[in-house]
Symmetry: C2
Subunit: 177 residues, 2 copies
């Protein structure tokens, strides 16, 4: 999975996987079917890990806390010592061939779900008074998602955890109320 994280879906070859996992190709195909399924199961592990977006959003008291929590988790998670830089979900199928368009769409769908969940959290806050009623929930959620995507690329380019934290702080400067 680290190979998928580091090099992306298509640039990771079966021989990369066999040598990293310590098993041979027929075992992989017996257990997972094909490369695509193996990748999507790795993604599923990633997005439902101990620190995952849905949990952060749902357990936050307000949408502001949710946004800040997502950004902080990203700053930490994208610069881990024992993992590749950046985000598996954000970087592994950004550009790929037409043959992988369905995998790309699958990951885009996961990203959209996270954005929608954040947007609805903001919307609820505008109704309860925890956020100004005129706040543009779609724009705010989209902005946070864009920043997270960008932090992934910056982490891959070598940005430090502290730099990502400063970017997160700059992103939260415009949060309403």
């Amino acid at each position: 999975m680290l190979s998928f994280w580091r090099h992306g879906y298509e640039a990771t070859s079966l021989s990369d996987l066999t040598s990293a996992m310590g098993i041979t190709a027929p075992s992989i195909y017996g257990a997972f079917g094909d490369k695509k399924t193996l990748f999507l199961e790795a993604v599923q592990l990633y997005v439902s890990g101990p620190v995952n977006a849905e949990t952060i959003i749902d357990s936050a008291p307000t949408s502001r806390h949710a946004a800040a929590g997502l950004l902080e988790a990203s700053a930490v998670g994208f610069t881990g010592r024992d993992t590749p830089r950046g985000c598996l979900l954000a970087s592994s199928t950004i550009s790929c061939s037409a043959a992988a368009a369905d995998v790309q769409a699958e990951l885009a769908s996961i990203r959209r779900k996270i954005e929608t969940r954040l947007k609805e959290k903001i919307l609820r806050d505008t109704k309860t008074g925890a956020a100004p009623p005129e706040a543009n929930a779609g724009a705010l959620a989209g902005h946070i998602m864009a920043v997270i995507q960008g932090m992934s690329t910056l982490a891959r380019d070598g940005a430090s955890r502290e730099k990502l934290r400063q970017i997160a702080a700059a992103a939260m400067l415009g949060w309403p109320a």
Copy 2:
């Protein structure tokens, strides 16, 4: 070049290029040397085109105008009718094999140059009074770059030009002064 833009550096094959350019493989190698050089020349064309980051930054009256101008140019450029979605510079080497690490580093260097130029514009404004002296130039510039990176991915995922404009507006809400 559109093939590089749409599918990225490694996912674009020589046969994609020959059929798109209407010439044969030996002609490409005679003219450019290899695939890597051809790609980097395409990137050079892209980043020095009629609407390019350096010009936007340098011709803006203030760093605030520069940031807003970069975001607006991104919203428009990433959703063009006759070009692939997103940004060639932001998406074509996000994840690639170890063999393309040098190409990846080259594009990262170009992105860093743009960020540095924006940061220095902000720094100058903090000295002339056009921006508050306590503004964190590095964080602000990094934030704008992250948003642009993220807008590229969102555009690829299908976000409309209007959606990107709203994200840009949300990103500028926190701009100081």
